[in-house]
């Protein structure tokens, strides 16, 4: 049952804008600490750029290491925003309201984090432009559109633009509130420009809602295409056992949703603890997201099962040798066990208990486990697959990540956290207008001795429901 606490518009404004209009004590030290990590990571990147990729653990045949595993992980996290925001918006799930903004913003920052790891991985990032744009007309050199190097930037770039637009459109009414409440003249001017003259007229609201729904529907195919394309980076490579599987596109997407929705649950718990938003993010919301996670995690596990079964079905010795390497040989065997246990075996049975589902702390720790497992999953796809690339029998190198790679990977995590903290300082992490709309639509129905929460049904005009057609 959705707990019913009616809050006034003023109270919602005060609660949700408090941390923008004032500075919490913990904010500056946290930002300083995260900035330090980001700067260290960037320093490591410049060091790598100066000395070359030799400072990493990459070698033949493991040409893709931490960077690409991390890239796939962040692309996965970025799916949370659209899953939570677009799908739940289209299905009119009421519980979405307090968590959509944070999920959308996390999409944008995780996409930026995802994009910069392959850029660093190429060693000389400026050369990326050559893959995407024709740079020498006279010699007839054109980008190879059959290459994943062109597919990836196109898909991820489109997704980044669409997600940013989605966040911005959903921000407009809140920007207008900030414009009216911020006293600093520079801030007021910036918010005024960004609010695009929003005054809350019926026409503006109508356009804002239509734009939100249209963008939700349009961004969904982009969301599906992005991770499909990332999966095809692997699946089209016929020379690497374990990668060439038709299930990869849906398997990557459901895995992305699993890790992304888990990340949103983590973010919800952090919002409650750091910003004291327990009036808005309640045990009901954790319960709803945990139920969603049970379905997503079980579906993901079925896909994982099919991927393995069909790998063994081929009965080809290189394929079976790869699976043995992944599951039984040091150091990948223990990592494989940790991956399965943390991403499915521990969290899903725990989420079956209502007490766990309604606890912010338990949801936080179980979803952390999921993301540890899902990071390892990407690692176990990338590295053992390349290690078993038997065509290059002249070089049987192994892979150990160097400190440079570790620093850059840590930097991506710090970057996303820093981005979220900075965003929350200038814009509300919970959409004010969405919460107010939910409050306006809320009603109560008394059924016997029970009070049932109800909501005004959005959608078709009222006369449609009367079957007068």
């Amino acid at each position: 049952m959705q707990e019913h606490t009616q809050l006034s518009h003023k109270q919602i404004n005060d609660d949700l804008l408090r941390d923008i209009l004032t500075v919490p004590k913990w904010w500056l030290p946290a930002v300083a600490f995260l900035s330090l990590i980001v700067l260290t990571g960037l320093g490591a990147f410049f060091f790598m750029m100066y000395h070359g990729l030799g400072v990493t653990g990459l070698n033949r045949p493991v040409m893709w290491g931490f960077f690409i595993a991390n890239f796939v992980f962040w692309i996965g996290i970025s799916h949370a925003g659209i899953m939570i925001s677009a799908i739940l918006r289209l299905t009119q799930a009421e519980w979405r309201r307090p968590i959509t903004r944070a999920a959308e913003v996390m999409t944008v920052f995780s996409l930026i984090a995802a994009l910069h790891t392959p850029l660093m991985h190429v060693g000389r990032p400026w050369r990326v432009l050559y893959w995407i744009f024709p740079y020498d007309f006279s010699r007839g050199i054109w980008p190879n559109i059959r290459s994943p190097f062109v597919w990836d930037p196109s898909a991820v770039g489109t997704y980044l633009i669409a997600s940013s637009l989605f966040v911005f459109v959903c921000l407009i009414p809140d920007l207008a509130i900030l414009r009216d409440r911020v006293k600093n003249p520079i801030g007021k001017k910036i918010y005024s420009q960004l609010a695009l003259g929003f005054r809350g007229t019926p026409r503006q609201w109508k356009l804002q809602i239509i734009a939100g729904i249209l963008l939700s529907a349009l961004v969904l195919p982009v969301f599906v295409s992005v991770h499909s394309i990332v999966s095809w980076d692997f699946a089209v490579l016929i020379g690497v056992e374990g990668w060439r599987s038709t299930i990869f596109a849906p398997y990557f997407i459901i895995g992305a949703i699993h890790s992304g929705v888990s990340a949103v649950a983590m973010l919800m718990a952090l919002s409650v603890w750091l910003y004291g938003l327990d009036k808005y993010i309640k045990p009901d919301h954790f319960d709803a997201i945990a139920r969603l996670l049970i379905v997503v995690a079980t579906t993901w596990f079925f896909f994982f099962f099919l991927e393995w079964v069909y790998a063994l079905y081929t009965l080809e010795s290189p394929e079976i040798a790869l699976r043995e390497l992944q599951a039984f040989e040091w150091p990948y065997g223990p990592l494989f066990a940790i991956f399965v246990i943390t991403s499915f075996v521990i969290p899903v049975p725990m989420w079956l208990f209502k007490r766990v589902r309604r606890s912010a702390a338990l949801m936080f720790w179980t979803t952390i486990l999921v993301n540890i497992g899902m990071w390892l999953e990407r690692f176990l796809i990338v590295i053992p697959g390349l290690l078993r690339r038997t065509h290059m029998t002249f070089d049987w190198g192994t892979y150990h990540p160097s400190i440079i790679e570790i620093l850059i990977v840590v930097e991506t995590f710090a970057f996303v956290c820093l981005g979220m903290l900075l965003f929350a300082k200038v814009l509300p992490l919970i959409p004010l207008f969405d919460i107010k709309e939910g409050m306006v639509n809320r009603r109560l129905i008394k059924v016997g001795r029970r009070v049932v929460p109800a909501t005004i049904r959005e959608g078709l005009p009222h006369h449609y429901y009367e079957n007068k057609h």
Binding site: W232, A249, K436, A454, I456, L460, N467, H469
Partner: protein, 491 residues
């Protein structure tokens, strides 16, 4: 005084019309329609009955032709797969929206559940297929990793080979158990759902319907404990039905399809098959809904809301059809492996090319590019027409895949081609449809419809208790200058 966020005074509770009169009006309204059977109903029932008899004749003829020529059974297996893809999947339209607490499902959930009864026919069709499945001793490739043969690399297959492998007839055992399980779960789901309505028939019906109600209601009185019991059991059985449906399609797509085509290794296809079933199930219920509204007298119960809700689902499933197909096709096509190119040559580019194009139009292009348009999706006629298009496309798709697969099952040297996963030759033509196959296809589809029609005489086609439950949660309130619908979210 209770106020809204804008400080306007609002009533503390929304009033719903849950009076005894309103509840009785719902029961009486549905029972009145349910108890009357028109002549037209019996005319159609007779027509479908005659066609079903033809189907049974075709069934006997097919059995008498023996099990040696596998290619001759292609259309028969395609029909089996089609019925599993439609009638067996239809109950998902009741299960999924019930779990998601979507109110629009209420008038159509019963019709979706009644389709589980057609599972009896699926079982009948399945029985001869047990003799057609090759055992693992035959040297075929299998998910069960049978270790007692001379297959190369078998010893490396550690996952299932420890302890001497599995019985040679494992696929037969597991597929049979899964199909039986699905049918039993379907019956259990239907029975749980009709319990309160049978009590209504027991208390308000006449003659044989009263007796029928008494027998099936099992002392249902509507106590809180009984309602809680029913609600939880329906949730559990529904969830298991969904999981079993996915597993059944996993078995069908592997054992009856992929293992017969050397070189076809497609880890996504079991999921594609399950997705096709969801699409076929939604299309089946959409058409059922249309006929119940148009000819069954339920116009006041099945409205635009139901067509709209289900239409959105069908639209999404049509797009997913393309994505699943493309995800498989893309990887197989891009890889350029000769064995996989031969599979594509057989099922997509070769003799079935025009059939494939037709399927592509009927199952994806037509539904997607028309239902994306609001006037079509928000209408009573649009979604059913597209549902018919999807059902025809799905039947053709089953024919393309199963007839194609069973055509090569015998032509290749099973032992050699299965172990090396290479098709020896790709047939240049489609096996022709004989009158036996035509009888079986038309007859058993008609048989399923007949079972549905007869079941609606015994069980109300509209769920009475779910409609009454709606009275508790639905209200109309004034909102500024208009009236709006308020819906309770009890769970």
């Amino acid at each position: 005084m209770v106020t809204d966020p804008g400080n306007r005074v609002i009533e503390p509770y929304v009033e719903t019309d849950n009076s005894a009169e309103a509840r009785k009006a719902v029961s009486d309204g549905i029972i009145n329609i349910h108890t009357v059977t028109s002549n037209r109903f019996w005319q159609f029932a007779a027509l479908f009955g005659i066609m079903f008899v033809l189907g049974l004749i075709g069934f006997v003829m097919r059995l008498s032709s023996g099990f040696d020529d596998k290619a001759a059974w292609g259309y028969y297996v395609a029909l089996f797969a089609f019925l599993m893809t439609t009638s067996s999947a239809a109950p998902m339209v009741a299960i999924a929206p019930r779990i998601a607490n979507s109110h629009w499902r209420r008038p159509i959930s019963r019709a979706a559940e009644i389709w589980t009864l057609a599972g009896c026919l699926n079982l009948l069709i399945y029985i001869p297929l047990i003799w057609l499945l090759p055992s693992l001793e035959n040297g075929r490739r299998s998910l069960w990793f049978y270790s007692d043969n001379n297959a190369q690399n078998m010893d490396s297959c550690w996952f299932f080979c420890w302890g001497g492998g599995v019985p040679a007839y494992s696929p037969h055992i597991w597929a049979t158990l899964a199909i039986l399980g699905l049918i039993v779960l379907g019956f259990a789901l239907l029975w749980l759902s009709i319990l309160p309505d049978m009590a209504v028939l027991r208390d308000h019906g006449d003659g044989w319907q009263k007796k029928w109600g008494r027998k099936l209601a099992l002392g249902w009185r509507g106590t809180s404990a009984q309602w809680n019991w029913q609600y939880h059991r329906m949730g559990v059985v529904g969830a298991f039905y969904f999981m079993m449906l996915v597993f059944v399609h996993f078995f069908i797509s592997v054992e009856f399809l992929m293992v017969h085509v050397p070189g076809w290794i497609d880890s996504l296809y079991p999921i594609t098959h399950a997705h096709n079933a969801l699409q076929g199930g939604v299309a089946t219920v959409m058409l059922t809904m249309f006929f119940l509204r148009k000819f069954g007298g339920y116009k006041d119960y099945i409205g635009l809301d139901q067509f709209w809700g289900l239409g959105k689902l069908l639209l999404a499933l049509s797009l997913l059809w393309f994505w699943f197909w493309f995800s498989s096709f893309m990887v197989l096509w891009y890889g350029k492996k000769p064995s996989e190119q031969a599979v594509l040559e057989l099922l997509v580019k070769g003799p079935y090319l025009y059939l494939f194009i037709t399927i592509f139009l009927l199952v994806f292009i037509l539904p997607w590019f028309t239902m994306i348009w609001n006037p079509v999706r928000r209408s009573v006629w649009g979604p059913p027409i597209l549902a018919a298009s999807i059902l025809v496309g799905t039947l053709l798709d089953r024919i393309r895949l199963y007839v194609g697969a069973w055509d090569v099952a015998e032509k290749s040297n099973m032992m050699k081609s299965m172990l090396h996963m290479e098709m020896e030759e790709v047939p240049g033509t489609i096996p022709s449809l004989g009158y036996t196959d035509a009888f079986v296809i038309v007859g058993f589809i008609s048989g399923s419809v007949l079972i549905f029609m007869l079941a609606t005489r015994l069980i109300p086609a509209i769920n009475i208790w779910e409609r009454k439950e709606m009275l508790l949660y639905k209200a109309e309130v004034q909102f500024h200058r208009t009236k709006v619908m308020v819906m309770g979210k009890p769970r």
